[in-house]
Structures are given as structure tokens and as C-alpha cells.
């Protein structure tokens, strides 16, 4: 019953989906760390990324050039994020911090509804797939759809790039500084509102990237961002809001727990195992595994 083969397959499956969950959660936590606001519409940016990928592949490039379409889709979501931040969110950051969170919540929730309705209205309720010509790949004893492995590899590369930029570049230093002291970074001569804009763009582009990568795996339809919203926020609670290593570790943890729970306890409750972990964290360590205790303004 508990064959080693099944255990290995379950482990691989869990890690792979976990990395992709981490990519979804990373955007939420990154935006929060810089702008101190929660973007509730994160799932919708994932969805837009998936639709862009579908349109590029199905209408222009064909499935063999999927890898070319991915960065284009992510960039498209990035550009949309910049526009949204500049038009709708920047104005609130001139206001005192007390009202900021409420306003950000209202605006991002409205965006969520707007994007979802637009998608249904423009593209219809059907599901699409950009299709994939990638062959089934054997990872150890486990057969995996080529597209899923590609998504995993791409996600790892994106995460590594992101970490590299943060740790080794000037811009990364500015981003890290801004997440620790908004006033401090301004007295160092950096326009913090410009940082906000880039951070928002990068954050939603991460979700859009996840959407583009998973388009052939999870299909493309107006509410396909739901998985990002649900898992993304679960991970942020587990890993700690504002912690980037927290997002990665919690993502993989969630993927593994769901995978093992579904395989060895009961597959009907696959989504419940993650919730149980969330509850446990809220009781035992409310700020999350790597959550920060507080921050100087």
C-alpha cells in the first residue's frame, strides 16, 4: 500500500506544484513588503497572464514557441500592473497611513470583480488551452506532462533570478531597503513612489508568469485565478507576510501536505489539508513561520 514508488511519486508531485504555488504567493508577499498593502486581485493577474499566453500561442506563435510567449505574457501583466498602480493605487499613498489599507482593499477587490467580469464578457465562459507539444517526461518513477515540468523549471529559474536581483544588484538593495524603512530610503534619495510602482508591477508579473506557465496544465478560463488567490493567501499566512524565503518554503510545504494527504489519507479532502495547516499556524505562530514581528515606518 505504501510502496516506495508511490511515496517518491507523491513527493515529486508535491514539490513541483509547491514551487508553482510559491511563485503565486511571492507576488503577494513582495508587494506587501514594499507597499504594506494586500493585493486581493492577485488571482486575476494570474488569469490575465494565462489568457495572454493562450492568445499568443494559439493566435500568433504556435505551441512550439511557448517559451517565447512566456516572457511576453509576463511583461504584458507587468505593464498592466504599472498602469494600475499609477492610476488607481498611487493616489492613496499620498494619504495618511490609517486609511490606506481600507482603500487598497476596496480598490483591489473592485479590480478583482472587474477583471473577472471582463474576461467572461470578452472571452466567454469556455475554457481554453494553448496546447502543448512537449512530451511526457519521466521524473524518476513518475510520468509527468512536459508542460508541467517546463512550468516547474521555468518557475525555479524565475525564483532564482528574483533572488539574485534582490541580493546582488543596486536595484535589489533599494527594494530591500524600501521594504524595511520607507522614510529611510527616501532620505537616501530614492523616490519611494517609483519603487512602489515597480514592486507592484514585478509582483503581479510573478502571478502572471505563473498563469502563463500553467495555462496548458490547468486550462484557461475566467476564474482560473481562484487557485492563486486561495493557495497564495494560505501560503502567505503559513510562511509569514513579507517574507520571501517564507513564501518559497511554505509553498513547497503546502504542495507536499496536499500531495501526501490526498494520496495517503483521503483524496476528496485535498484542499482541506492546507487549511488545517493554516489553522495550526494561526494558533501556534500567528505571524507565520518566518513572519516579522513589527517594522519601523
Amino acid at each position: 500500500m505504501f510502496s516506495t514508488e508511490l511515496i517518491v511519486q507523491t513527493f515529486i508531485s508535491g514539490v513541483m506544484i509547491g514551487v508553482l504555488y510559491a511563485l503565486m504567493a511571492l507576488g503577494i508577499t513582495f508587494i506587501y513588503s514594499i507597499m504594506r498593502m494586500i493585493n486581493w486581485a492577485m488571482g486575476e493577474f494570474y488569469m490575465i497572464g494565462s489568457y495572454l499566453q493562450y492568445m499568443l500561442v494559439a493566435l500568433l506563435l504556435g505551441p512550439d514557441l511557448w517559451w517565447l510567449a512566456i516572457p511576453i505574457s509576463a511583461t504584458g501583466v507587468f505593464a498592466l500592473g504599472i498602469a494600475v498602480q499609477w492610476g488607481l493605487l498611487k493616489p492613496i499613498f499620498r494619504k495618511p497611513p490609517e486609511t490606506r489599507d481600507d482603500y487598497a482593499t476596496v480598490v483591489t477587490l473592485a479590480l478583482l470583480l472587474l477583471f473577472r467580469s471582463l474576461a467572461t464578457g470578452i472571452a466567454g465562459p469556455n475554457q481554453f488551452t494553448p496546447g502543448s507539444n512537449l512530451p511526457v517526461i519521466m521524473v524518476g518513477p513518475m510520468p509527468l506532462a512536459g508542460a508541467r515540468v517546463a512550468a516547474f523549471v521555468f518557475a525555479l529559474v524565475a525564483l532564482a533570478l528574483f533572488w539574485g536581483v534582490l541580493r546582488y544588484t543596486w536595484y535589489g538593495l533599494a527594494l530591500r531597503a524600501a521594504s524595511q524603512s520607507r522614510v529611510g530610503v527616501q532620505t537616501a534619495g530614492i523616490d519611494v513612489l517609483g519603487i512602489d510602482r515597480m514592486a507592484f508591477g514585478i509582483g503581479v508579473a510573478l502571478a502572471g508568469l505563473a498563469g502563463a506557465l500553467l495555462a496548458p496544465v490547468f486550462l484557461v478560463f475566467p476564474t482560473d485565478g481562484l487557485v492563486t488567490t486561495v493557495k497564495g493567501f494560505e501560503i502567505v499566512v503559513i510562511g509569514g507576510l513579507g517574507s520571501i524565503p517564507g513564501a518559497l518554503i511554505a509553498g513547497i510545504l503546502l504542495g507536499l501536505i496536499e500531495s501526501f494527504g490526498a494520496a495517503f489519507i483521503d483524496s476528496a479532502y485535498q484542499n482541506i489539508y492546507g487549511f488545517l495547516l493554516v489553522l495550526a499556524i494561526l494558533v501556534l505562530r500567528p505571524t507565520g513561520l518566518f513572519g516579522e514581528r513589527g517594522r519601523e515606518a
Partner: protein, 392 residues
């Protein structure tokens, strides 16, 4: 400045909602509750809607019902009971409809019927198959669709014909999925089929079914019955192919999703060899109004009508006839008329809704088929007919 942004966003977001417009006094208002967004099967809902809308146009073009025009009010059930019940209430209290056809998801139909029982406006389920929809014998509950026992009998016939012994049921944890699973197990016992049945369940909001499918693969069944609706159905087919379960193990899809054009767009590579339930074959003849509808549908949508659209059309036609012949556009009168009259719908056989026993109360059952795609991109009308089962 910021308020304008908020208002703008809010207006646009809600503008894609219900198109409730007040009607003139000479109109007869009819509701329609179908899934138009996830987690409901939005394609299924859209097809029923097409049929109903075209039927309303056709009836109105021929002078309406007793001189009055029909007006259709469409609501999205989203495939969830809460949204469905809210939709029904809205239709009855605000839009003052006299009947509510539609219903694709069983859980929605069951929940709405509990409310309809009190509010009195009859419902006609055109594609929801769980027994409880009519088995509770509510006056207001009607159905023009196969009930689950008939669906299961059809595939038991298929299993017997093929000599399968080990069967895996991969079912969603909704009324539909659980109902079909239990009915299959019950018929296995009562019909003494002697099958070894594996039951594997999943949450219909999940996106990864690999754990369940690995269990199925380990069981080494002769047949897998895919009892998922909407996205899970497609994801299961894809993921089963990835882990090597398909195409070697035959798979039966529990409803007619493969008849839709979207099927081959999504499953160009792994859709051939699939078996599926269907309720309509071009080989079964259409009535005169059925033919007129099929032609109008082809002209408008450039594709042949499928079962969902035909039944959506049929429900409106039946209602129009019931109102015209039965004494008026009033819910109680419609209920009486439906029970006692004989109606013409898209098939040649007449349609009646007698107060029969058990699940067949107020129920008309079309024949149920099992079709088989023998090659990729095959037109569903050319698919092989493997079983045709009629309720005796």
C-alpha cells in the same frame, strides 16, 4: 479623483450582471436559471440558453402566446445552490416570472425546488439528473431529462455488453457525483452484476487529480467512469493521459460534454477512444418544430444544435403550449396544464408529465445513448453508437 476611479470600476464590474429590465404589461415573463460561470459548467449553461432564447424568438415571431409576447429573464446559477436559490427568488419576486426552466447542475435544482415548493412558480429541469429533483414529488417540480437511475442502467448495459469486471468510479463530491456513485453500487447489487467497484472522489474545485488517478491506475480497472463536470472533467482526461492510464484503459464520460465543439479544441491528442453518454443522436428523428429549430440554430450559430440547446428550446415550447392550451399564464394553471396535457417537443414522441411513482414523477425521459469516438477530431454525429437504452 480617487472616488471616480472606484465608481468607474464598480460600474463596469457589475454591468456584466443580470440584465433585469422591466417588462411591458402585455408580456409573459419566463425565467431561465443556468450556470454561466465557474464553478458551474458554463458551456453547458450557455448551450441551454441559446436554445431557450431561440425558442422565445420563434414563438414570438409566430404571434406569441395568446397575443402576448414571451420575455426571457436569464440568471447565472454559477453551479452553486446558493447562487441558484438567490436567482430563483430574484426571478419570482422582481421579474415576476410564471415558470423557471433551466437547471444543469443537480445540486442547484434540488436546492431551488425546496424554495419553489413555497413560492409556487414551477421549475423544469432540462439537464439535471439527480433523483431527488422529482423523487420528492413536489407539485412544482418538472423534468425533461434522463434521471440518474436511467443513466446508470445505460452504462451497466454497456459494461455487461463489453464484459468488464473491474470498474473505477472517479466522482466529484457533489449531489451529482455521489448520487451516480451510489446508484451504480446499488444497481450492481440488485442486478447481480458481480462487479468489483472502486470509488475515488475529488473536490470539484481542485486542479490536481494525480493522487486519485494514481490510485485508479494501481487498481488496474477494465473501465474508468469519469464523473466530473466542467473543468475537472477535462483535467482528469489530460492528467490520466499523462500518467499513462489513458488511452490503454477505456474511459466513459458521464454526460455529453464531448459533443461540444470545445472537446476537440481541448483534447485534440487524447480525445479519441473516449466513450460518453449522449441524449440525442441525429439518427433519432426530429419533430417538425424540432427541425425548424435545428435549421434556425444552424443559421445563427453555424453549428448543429446539441442536446442542451434542444432541451432548452423544448422547455420553452412546452411552456408556451401549456400556457396557450391550459388556461393562462399563471403558475398554478401552468402546473395543472403540464400534468394533464400532452406536448410536442423536439423528438417525434409526445411528451407527458404524469404523477408517476418514484423518480419518474413529472418526468419525461429521452432515450440515453453511449457514443464512442473512434478517431481524432471526429464529428460527434459520426461517433459510433455503442448502446441505446430506453426506459421501459
Amino acid at each position: 479623483m480617487k472616488r471616480r476611479g472606484l465608481l468607474w470600476a464598480g460600474v463596469l464590474a457589475t454591468s456584466f450582471g443580470a440584465w433585469g429590465v422591466s417588462a411591458r404589461a402585455q408580456d409573459i415573463n419566463v425565467g431561465l436559471i443556468v450556470p454561466l460561470s465557474a464553478p458551474g459548467d458554463a458551456t453547458g449553461g450557455q448551450l441551454i440558453r441559446r436554445g431557450a432564447e431561440l425558442a422565445v424568438d420563434m414563438v414570438n415571431q409566430q404571434g406569441g402566446v395568446g397575443g402576448k409576447k414571451l420575455k426571457l429573464f436569464v440568471q447565472d446559477s454559477q453551479g452553486t445552490p446558493q447562487a441558484g436559490v438567490a436567482a430563483y427568488r430574484r426571478l419570482v419576486t422582481e421579474d415576476k416570472v410564471v415558470a423557471v426552466p433551466g437547471f444543469f447542475h443537480s445540486s442547484v435544482a434540488i436546492a431551488v425546488n425546496e424554495v419553489a415548493k413555497e413560492m409556487g412558480v414551477p421549475t423544469i429541469s432540462v439537464q439535471a439528473s439527480a433523483s431527488d429533483i422529482t423523487a420528492k414529488h413536489y407539485d412544482i417540480a418538472f423534468r425533461t431529462h434522463a434521471v440518474d437511475p436511467v443513466r446508470v442502467s445505460t452504462w451497466m448495459e454497456f459494461i455487461k455488453q463489453k464484459g468488464y469486471k473491474k470498474v473505477s468510479l472517479v466522482a466529484e463530491t457533489t449531489d451529482y457525483g455521489i448520487g451516480l456513485t451510489e446508484e451504480t453500487i446499488a444497481q450492481n447489487k440488485s442486478g447481480k452484476f458481480g462487479l468489483d467497484i472502486q470509488k475515488v472522489t475529488f473536490d470539484n474545485k481542485a486542479t490536481d487529480f494525480t493522487p486519485q488517478l494514481l490510485q485508479v491506475k494501481n487498481f488496474k480497472p477494465d473501465l474508468v467512469i469519469n464523473i466530473g463536470v466542467g473543468q475537472p472533467l477535462d483535467l482528469i482526461v489530460d492528467q490520466a493521459t499523462t500518467i499513462g492510464l489513458l488511452p490503454n484503459t477505456p474511459m466513459l464520460i458521464s454526460y455529453d460534454a464531448p459533443t461540444r465543439p470545445q472537446w476537440w479544441k481541448l483534447h485534440e491528442k487524447d480525445g479519441s477512444g473516449i466513450y460518453f453518454i449522449a441524449y440525442y443522436s441525429p439518427k433519432s428523428p426530429l419533430s417538425d418544430i424540432g427541425q425548424a429549430f435545428a435549421k434556425a440554430y444552424r443559421d445563427k450559430y453555424k453549428e448543429d444544435p446539441v442536446y442542451g440547446a434542444l432541451n432548452g428550446f423544448g422547455a420553452i415550447e412546452i411552456l408556451a403550449q401549456a400556457i396557450k392550451n391550459g388556461g393562462g399564464a399563471e403558475p398554478k394553471a401552468i402546473v395543472k396544464a403540464l400534468e394533464s396535457g400532452t406536448y410536442k417537443s423536439w423528438p417525434t414522441a409526445p411528451v407527458t408529465f404524469p404523477r408517476a411513482d418514484g423518480v419518474y414523477w413529472h418526468n419525461w425521459v429521452p432515450p440515453v445513448l453511449i457514443l464512442h469516438y473512434t478517431k481524432p477530431l471526429q464529428d460527434w454525429k459520426e461517433a459510433e453508437i455503442v448502446v441505446q437504452y430506453s426506459k421501459k
